[in-house]
C-alpha cells in the first residue's frame, strides 16, 4: 500500500488544493481510504491530519472502510422518488440485509444511495458497478439480487 501511495504522490505537487484530487486518486487505486493513507497525505501536503480527516469525512464520495466486490447504488433523485425509488431501496435493503453505507458480511455487495444520477427519464434507476439499470421494479430487483448468498447477479 505504502508503495502505491508513494507512487501516486509523484504525480502531484504538495499544494493544498491537491488534497481532494489526491484522495480521489488513492481511493481509485485502493478502493477506499485506509487511515494510514490519510496520515501520509497530511505529511505530503504539510497540513494537520485533522484537516485531511475532515475533508475525508465531509464528502460522501470518500470511503474510510473497504467496500464489497460490487457496489449497488440506488438513485434517490426526485424523478426516481415519484416513480417508487424509496420502495426499491427498501426492497434492496431487505434483499441484501444491509442499510445504505454498509457492506454484506460476505463482502459481496456494498449498498449506497446517490442524490441523482441524472438519468431521470429512465427512473427509477439502480446502478451496479457503474452499469445503469433503468425502470427497475420490485420484480426486477428480486431477479437481480435474489441469490445474494451466492453472489451472482442476473440482468
Amino acid at each position: 500500500m505504502k508503495e502505491k501511495i508513494t507512487e501516486i504522490f509523484t504525480k502531484f505537487t504538495d499544494e493544498r488544493d491537491n488534497l481532494i484530487p489526491l484522495l480521489q486518486k488513492i481511493q481509485e487505486e485502493l478502493g477506499y481510504l485506509p487511515e494510514e493513507s490519510l496520515k501520509e497525505v497530511a505529511k505530503f501536503l504539510h497540513i494537520p491530519e485533522s484537516e485531511v480527516f475532515g475533508v475525508g469525512t465531509f464528502y460522501s464520495q470518500f470511503k474510510l472502510k473497504p467496500g464489497g466486490k460490487k457496489t449497488v447504488v440506488v438513485c434517490r433523485g426526485t424523478a426516481c422518488h415519484v416513480k417508487g425509488g424509496a420502495r426499491i431501496q427498501k426492497d434492496i435493503e431487505k434483499m441484501l440485509g444491509v442499510a445504505p453505507g454498509e457492506t454484506t458480511p460476505d463482502m459481496e455487495y456494498t449498498l449506497e444511495t446517490v442524490a441523482c444520477i441524472g438519468a431521470c427519464a429512465l427512473a427509477p434507476n439502480v446502478v451496479v458497478d457503474k452499469e445503469i439499470f433503468g425502470q427497475v421494479n420490485a420484480r426486477k430487483i428480486k431477479e437481480m439480487f435474489a441469490p445474494a448468498e451466492t453472489g451472482t447477479t442476473q440482468d
Binding site: 475533508v55 465531509f58 460522501s60 427498501k90 444520477i117 431521470c120 429512465l122
Partner: protein, 637 residues
C-alpha cells in the same frame, strides 16, 4: 493558422460527412442513451454491417432530448434527409440494416421523423412533431447533431466565431453586449450576467478567476450533464469570452464526479482548444492568456453554493461562508472571482456569436432568451427541452410533454429542485419566467421540472425534499442544521399517520425561521418545498393529520391493498409476482393479501389484468374481505 483557415478546414470536414456518398449513422450516446442500451445497439449494428460488407460512417452524438425514445439511432442515406428511429432494440436494428440500408425501404412504421432538407413519404419532419415543434433550441442546437468529441463539428456550425468577435472588442464592449442581451444567471437565482461580470471586472486586483459551476446537484435535473456531454465546446467558448471580458487568466470547471462522461468530454475538448490556440498563452495571437482546470466534485450538494464550491476547489470542506464580501471582490483564494452556471456560459457564447439583438428577441420583457428544462416524473414524453422564457406551464406540460402519464390528472409541477416549490393546477396558465415562479413561491432553479399526478402525495414530496436537504446540510449554521431536522421529524410523523394538531403551524414557523436565519442558499431555500405544498395542498396535510388518510394513496403506512373477492378470477398472476410472497390462494381459490406480510409495493395492483381490476388500494378504511383463500363461487369462469 488563422481562424479563417481553421474554419474552412472544419466546414470541409463537416461537409464531407454531411454530403458523403456513404451511409451515415448517428448513435445517441449520452449517459441516458447508454443506460437505455445504446452500446448493445451499436455492437449489433457494427456486426450487421460487417456481415453484409457495408461501409458506413458511424458518429456518436449527444442527446437530442427525447429521452423517452432512447436508444435513438439516425440514418442518412446519400441524397436523403436524416431519419430518426427511437426505442431501438437489436432486432429493430437488424431490420433497419436490411430494409433501409440494404434495400430502400425507410420503414415509416419505425421512424420518428426526418431531419433536414427533403422529405420521405410517410415520415413527418421530426421538428414538426409535438415534442419538438414549440421548442426553441439555442443552447441545445448542437446536441444530437455533432460529435461532441470533434471540435471541427462545433466550429463548422458557427462555433468560436463568438470568441473571435470578442477578441476584437474591448472588455467593456463585451460586458455592454451581455447587458443588452438581458441574459440572467441560469443557475437559478437569475442575477443579470452582464452586471455580474462588470462587478468582477471592476474589482481591484491583477489576479482574477472565473468558474463554471457544473455541480448540478438538484435531484431530477440533468440539463448541464446533457449539454456538457453533447456540446462541451459551447460552454468552453463562453468561458474564454468571459475571461477576456473580466480579465481572468485562470478558469475552473467544477463538475460532479457522478458525471464521468461529461468530465471525459471536457478534457478532450480543452486539449483540442489548446491545439487550435483557443486556450493557453497568447490566445489567437492577441496576447490574452487563459487556462482552464477541471475539478471533480466529491459528492456534496452544498458545493453548488458558490462560496462552498470555492472552498472545495481550495481543497477544503465545502462549507459556505457569509457574504459580503461577495466572490466578485474576494472569491477563490481571496481574489476577485466570477462564477456562472454551465448554461449561462453557453448562452454568453451564443450571444457573442449572433449578437444581443438576435438573442433578446426570445423570452419576455424581464426574462430574455431560452431556458432548458429536464421534464421528468409522471409525464408522457420525458426529456430535455428548451423553450423561450415566458411559455406557459400548460404548453410545456401538455404540448411538449404530451400531458400527464397514463391520462391521469395533473396535480403539480415541481421546479427548482430542493430549493423550489410546487406549482399547482391554478398555475398552469401562468408564464414560466423568473418573476412568475417567484410569485408562486417557487424558483426557476437550474431547470428541473418534475410533474406530479393525482397519485403523488405532496406531503411525501415535502418530506422527501427536506430529508434531502437535511442530509446535505453542511452543519455550519444552526437554523439549517437543526431546523431542517425538526421539519423532517414532523413530516415523517405526518406521513406515518402520527401527525398532531398544530403540526402545520409548527412547520410554517420553523420554515420561516430557517429561511430567514440560514447562512447560505441551501438553508434559505430548503423550506420552500414544504411551505409551497402547505400553501397549495393544505387539505392533504389535514387529511394525513386528522383523518389518517393519504388522499394520493402514496404514504405506505396509511394505505392498504385488497383483492376484491367478487372480482378475483384466481388467475395466480399477482400471487406469482408478489415479491413479499404475501398473497395466498391457488387454482380456483380467491386470492387474499396477508396484510402483515404486505410491503405495499403495489406490484399486485400493477399486474392484475385490467379486465379483472380486482386489486384495490384504499386509505383510511378496512375492507371486509376474507382472511383466507376461499373457493370461487360456482358459475364463475
Amino acid at each position: 493558422m488563422t481562424f479563417e483557415d481553421i474554419r474552412a478546414a472544419a466546414i470541409n470536414e463537416w461537409d464531407s460527412l454531411e454530403k458523403s456518398d456513404q451511409v451515415r449513422i448517428y448513435l445517441g450516446s449520452a449517459t441516458c442513451g447508454r443506460a437505455a442500451g445504446a452500446k448493445t445497439i451499436s455492437d449489433e449494428l457494427e456486426e450487421e454491417l460487417q456481415k453484409r460488407n457495408i461501409s458506413a460512417v458511424i458518429t456518436q452524438v449527444g442527446c437530442i432530448g427525447s429521452c423517452y425514445l432512447e436508444p435513438l439511432v439516425d440514418i442518412t442515406k446519400p441524397g436523403k434527409p436524416r431519419i430518426s428511429y427511437g426505442n431501438m432494440t437489436p432486432k429493430k436494428m437488424v431490420e433497419l440494416v436490411d430494409d433501409y440500408i440494404v434495400n430502400d425501404n425507410p420503414r415509416p412504421d419505425l421512424a420518428l421523423g426526418s431531419i433536414g432538407e427533403g422529405s420521405v413519404e410517410g415520415i413527418t419532419d421530426f421538428f414538426q412533431t409535438p415534442m419538438l415543434k414549440s421548442q426553441v433550441r439555442i443552447i441545445l442546437r448542437n446536441c444530437g447533431f455533432i460529435d461532441p468529441e470533434k471540435i471541427n463539428h462545433y466550429i463548422a456550425r458557427g462555433g468560436y466565431s463568438g470568441l473571435v468577435r470578442t477578441l476584437t472588442m474591448t472588455p467593456d464592449q463585451v460586458i455592454e453586449e451581455l447587458k443588452k442581451s438581458g441574459l440572467r444567471g441560469r443557475g437559478g437565482a437569475g442575477f443579470p450576467t452582464g452586471q455580474k461580470w462588470e462587478f468582477c471586472q471592476r474589482a481591484p486586483g491583477n489576479e482574477k478567476y472565473i468558474i463554471c459551476n457544473a455541480d448540478e446537484g438538484d435531484p431530477g435535473a440533468f440539463m448541464n450533464r446533457s449539454l456538457l456531454e453533447g456540446d462541451p465546446h459551447s460552454v468552453l467558448e463562453g468561458m474564454v469570452i468571459g475571461s477576456h471580458a473580466i480579465g481572468a487568466s485562470q478558469g475552473y470547471i467544477y463538475c460532479r464526479a457522478e458525471y464521468p462522461l461529461a468530465i471525459e468530454r471536457l478534457k478532450i475538448a480543452t486539449d483540442q482548444m489548446r491545439k487550435y490556440g483557443f486556450l493557453g498563452k497568447n490566445i489567437m495571437g492577441t496576447g490574452h492568456n487563459f487556462e482552464i482546470v477541471i475539478k471533480e466534485g466529491a459528492g456534496a450538494f452544498v458545493c453548488g453554493e458558490e462560496t462552498a464550491l470555492m472552498a472545495s476547489i481550495e481543497g477544503k470542506r465545502g462549507m459556505p461562508r457569509p457574504r459580503p464580501p461577495f466572490p466578485a471582490i474576494a472569491g477563490l483564494w481571496g481574489k476577485p472571482t466570477n462564477i456562472n452556471n454551465v448554461e449561462t456560459w453557453a448562452a454568453a457564447a451564443v450571444i457573442m456569436q449572433r449578437g444581443w439583438e438576435w438573442y433578446s428577441q426570445f423570452g419576455t420583457e424581464k426574462s430574455k432568451g431560452t431556458k432548458t428544462f429536464a421534464l421528468v416524473g409522471k409525464i408522457e414524453r420525458t426529456g430535455l427541452i428548451e423553450v423561450p422564457l415566458g411559455m406557459t406551464l400548460r404548453s410545456i406540460i401538455y404540448d411538449i410533454g404530451g400531458g400527464v402519464l397514463d391520462g391521469k390528472e395533473f396535480k403539480a409541477a415541481q421546479t427548482g429542485g430542493p430549493s423550489g416549490g410546487c406549482l399547482p393546477q391554478s398555475n398552469l396558465d401562468s408564464p414560466v419566467d423568473y418573476e412568475s415562479l417567484a410569485a408562486a413561491g417557487s424558483i426557476m432553479g437550474s431547470g428541473g421540472m418534475i410533474v406530479m399526478d393525482e397519485n403523488t402525495c405532496p406531503v411525501d414530496i415535502a418530506r422527501y425534499f427536506i430529508s434531502f436537504t437535511q442530509g446535505e446540510s453542511c452543519g455550519k449554521c444552526v437554523p439549517c442544521r437543526l431546523g431542517t431536522r425538526q421539519m423532517q421529524k414532523i413530516l415523517q410523523r405526518i406521513c406515518n399517520g402520527n401527525g398532531e394538531q398544530g403540526d402545520i403551524e409548527k412547520l410554517q414557523k420553523i420554515g420561516e425561521t430557517v429561511k430567514t436565519g440560514s447562512l447560505c442558499g441551501l438553508g434559505q431555500t430548503a423550506p420552500n418545498p414544504v411551505l409551497t405544498t402547505i400553501r397549495y395542498f393544505r387539505d392533504d396535510y389535514e387529511a394525513h393529520i386528522h383523518d389518517k388518510k393519504c388522499p394520493s394513496l402514496t404514504c405506505k403506512d396509511l394505505i392498504r391493498f385488497y383483492i376484491l373477492p367478487d372480482k378475483c378470477q384466481a388467475c395466480l398472476i399477482c400471487l406469482r409476482n408478489c415479491p413479499a410472497e404475501a398473497i395466498l390462494g391457488g387454482k380456483r381459490m380467491i386470492h387474499v393479501i396477508d396484510q402483515d406480510k404486505c410491503t405495499k409495493c403495489g406490484t399486485c395492483f400493477d399486474v392484475c389484468p385490467k379486465k379483472f381490476d380486482a386489486v384495490v388500494r384504499v386509505t383510511g378504511e378496512k375492507l371486509d374481505v376474507p382472511d383466507e383463500p376461499v373457493p370461487m363461487l360456482a358459475g364463475k369462469a
